[in-house]
Each structure stands twice: as C-alpha cells, then as structure tokens.
Symmetry: C2
Subunit: 233 residues, 2 copies
C-alpha cells in the first residue's frame, strides 16, 4: 500500500513546524523573563523584550502561509478548520510572548528596588507555568489528546497559586508601605503568569479540536478570583 | 451602468453586520461594568458577567460564517485577507467583552468594601475608553481610514491616564493600609481599561488594513509604563 501525501499535507506539516519553532521561542522568552526577575538581571530582561519581536514576525509569517495555502489549495471545510486552528495557535503563542515580555519589563525596575520576599513564590509559579506551556507544546507536536485534556484540567492549580500569591503580596504591602510599588509590579507579574496558563489551556483546546474534530467545551475548572474580603472591614 | 453585487459581497456584508452587532454589545458591557462600579451595584455587575456569554457565542458564529464562506466561494487572496481580518475583529471584540466582564467581577467585592477615592478617576478613564471603542466601531462601520488613524494615535492618552491612576492608587494604599486590597482591585480594573484601549487600536489597524490593503505599521506611540521609581529607596 502506498502512503499518499498531498501537497496540502506537506505544506500543513511546514506550518506545524513553524508553530513548533514559535513554541520553542515562547518557552525561551518565559524562562529568561523568570530568570531575569530571580537574578535581578536588567540586561537579561532587556534581551527578552528585544527577542519578542522575532515571535511577532513569526506569527505574521504563519498567517501569510495559511492565507496562501487556502488561496492555492482551496481546502475542504475540515482542512480549513485545521488551518484556522493553526493560525489561532500562532496568535496565542504571540500573546504568550507579549506576556513574557511584560514580565521582563517589570523585572527591570524590580532589579534595582528593595528586594521583596514573594518574588520566590512567583518564580515557583512561573516554573509551573513554564512546565504547563512545555507540556501543551509537546501535546501539540505529538497530537496527544490525553495530555491536552490533562493540561486543560490542571490549569486550576495555577489559578490557586495566583490567588495565594495575591494574598501574600498584599500582606507584605500592609506590613511595609515602602513595598507597595514593588508589590503592585509583582501582582501584575503573577497575573501575567496566570494568563499564560489560560493561553496554554486555549492551545490544549485547539490540539483537542485539531485531533478529534470536536470542542473541549467551556466548562473548564477555574479557581475563584482573589477577592478583597480578607481586608474588608 | 449596472452595479454588480456578488453572492460573496452579500455574505461579507452580513458578516460585517454581525460584527457591528458584537461591537454594540461590547460597548454595552463596558458601559454597564463602569456603571456597576460607580454606583456600587453588584446585581448590575452580575448581569454583565452573564451577558458576556452572548458575545462569546457571537464570535463563534462569525468564525463559522467565515469558514463556510471561504469553503463555498473560494475567494481570491485579497478577499481572503478581508475575511480573516473580520474574524480577528470578532475575536478582539470577544476579548474586549472578557475585559469588561473582569471589570464587573471586580466591582462585586468593591461594592461592599470601604469606598476608595480613585474610583472616580477610573470611571473617567473608563468613559474615555468607551468613547475610543465607540469611535473605532464607527470607523469600522463607515470604513473611515482617517478616524482609524486618529484613534491609533490617541491611545497614548489612555496609557497616560492609566499611569496617573496607578500612582494615585499607590498613594492611597500607602496612606491607609486598609485600602490595599481594594486598591489592588482598582489597579487591575485600570489595567483592563488600558488593555481595552489597546484592543481598540488593534481594530483601528484592521479597519485601515481592510480599507487600504496596507498595514498601519507597529510604531504606534505608547505611554511609558508606570514604574516603581517613585517609591524606590
């Protein structure tokens, strides 16, 4: 039996390869942004900001390839959906890069500010965010539906870490008002990480969709948002 | 001379009409979220959270229509780009709805917390955000390139309002540590508004692209991020 690979399939494989490359770069940006925060390294943070531009250009290239492939091959609806999902994954990876860049931007003033203890918790949360991103990129590369579902269900852990950090940072801010500026930056960094986690689940949804043709639904378990009740009077 | 309207054009007009509808709903959600914050109305905030689901469903419908239209009509590359831009505008409006929903979510605990003065500044910023969103939707409906460029250039004002609010909120938090929890919520609300402003500029870029076939470039003026220097020791 001859295995037939169409020109369409070949070009689709190329698009998937570009997405894998984008995934690798988004992981690198997040890892370096976390490292720049942990080691108070403003130069490293600046390099993340600079390198994010590559990811932006790669997203545009994927979109161009998808449009070109649709125009040339006029694929049937099911292939079209796979292509549009590929474009969305590229766009999601670009946004993950933006969020990593934003972590790096905030790491710059923090590098010369008074050290604040919850930084360690945020770096831990960052490592979990990075592990989740790495898992979802593996799920994408291997079309691993089970892994995609697992990631989709596990994101609630990141939501809970975020809520714990929010409370921890507020506690430090209450104890020492000189930490309020830095604390606010840490809150935004933690929020960025939580959003990267959300984006990883979006990629998991698209991996599920590409592989099965079905939607994962929208009843993903979510952590409760950190409230202000604990300081309410 | 007979004006010829193709089946493709007619269906494109329908997609644009759905996008206008999504735009109207996103404006409504933002206006009500701001109102719920200003009048400390938790029930109104909850209705925003509920109504955002309609916007999510509308985005999926636009995407379905675009995929169907591409599959049926097999448009040339330039028409394809217009369709993909329409899909992206729908996705951006869905994200604006998410951000308005997040403002409403944060307005719920704030409605029963000790009132905090910077709320007034945030409501003012919110009105400007809403005016910008409304302008960009008009630019989209009228294919008004000049208005799109104007919005694109003006977003820097929202960035500056955001920075001023950030400093104002920190000042209140420093003066009265009981306000730290509510202050953190206000910072996230202001950040959400600033992001809605960014999304309006993305729509302006797509209006420019759909109308002229060219990109607006990526050197949009941006406000400097609020730093922590003013509390640094």
């Amino acid at each position: 039996m001859v295995h037939i690979v169409s020109a369409f399939d070949e070009e689709l494989v190329q698009i998937q390869a570009r997405i894998s490359e984008m995934g690798g770069l988004s992981e690198e940006l997040l890892a370096r942004a976390l490292e720049s925060m942990q080691s108070r390294d403003a130069a490293l943070a600046r390099s993340v900001i600079e390198r994010d531009k590559i990811l932006d250009a790669m997203e545009i290239a994927v979109e161009e390839s998808v449009v070109k492939l649709i125009a040339q091959r006029q694929p049937v609806a099911s292939d079209l959906r796979v292509l549009i999902a590929a474009m969305k994954i590229a766009s999601t990876l670009e946004r993950i890069g933006d969020l990593a860049k934003n972590v790096a931007k905030r790491a710059i003033p923090l590098s010369s500010a008074r050290p604040i203890k919850p930084t360690a918790s945020i770096v831990r949360m960052g490592r979990q965010t990075l592990a989740q991103l790495s898992d979802v990129l593996n799920a994408h590369a291997a079309r691993d539906v089970d892994l995609a579902i697992q990631i989709w269900n596990q994101d609630v852990e990141l939501d809970e870490m975020y809520n714990a950090i929010f409370r921890e940072v507020v506690t430090y801010m209450v104890e020492d008002s000189r930490l309020i500026g830095a604390g606010a930056q840490l809150m935004f960094i933690a929020k960025n990480l939580e959003r990267i986690g959300d984006h990883s689940t979006h990629i998991a949804e698209m991996v599920y969709y590409i592989t099965t043709g079905k939607s994962l639904g929208d009843d993903r378990p979510k952590g409760e948002p950190a409230g202000i009740e604990f300081v309410r009077e």
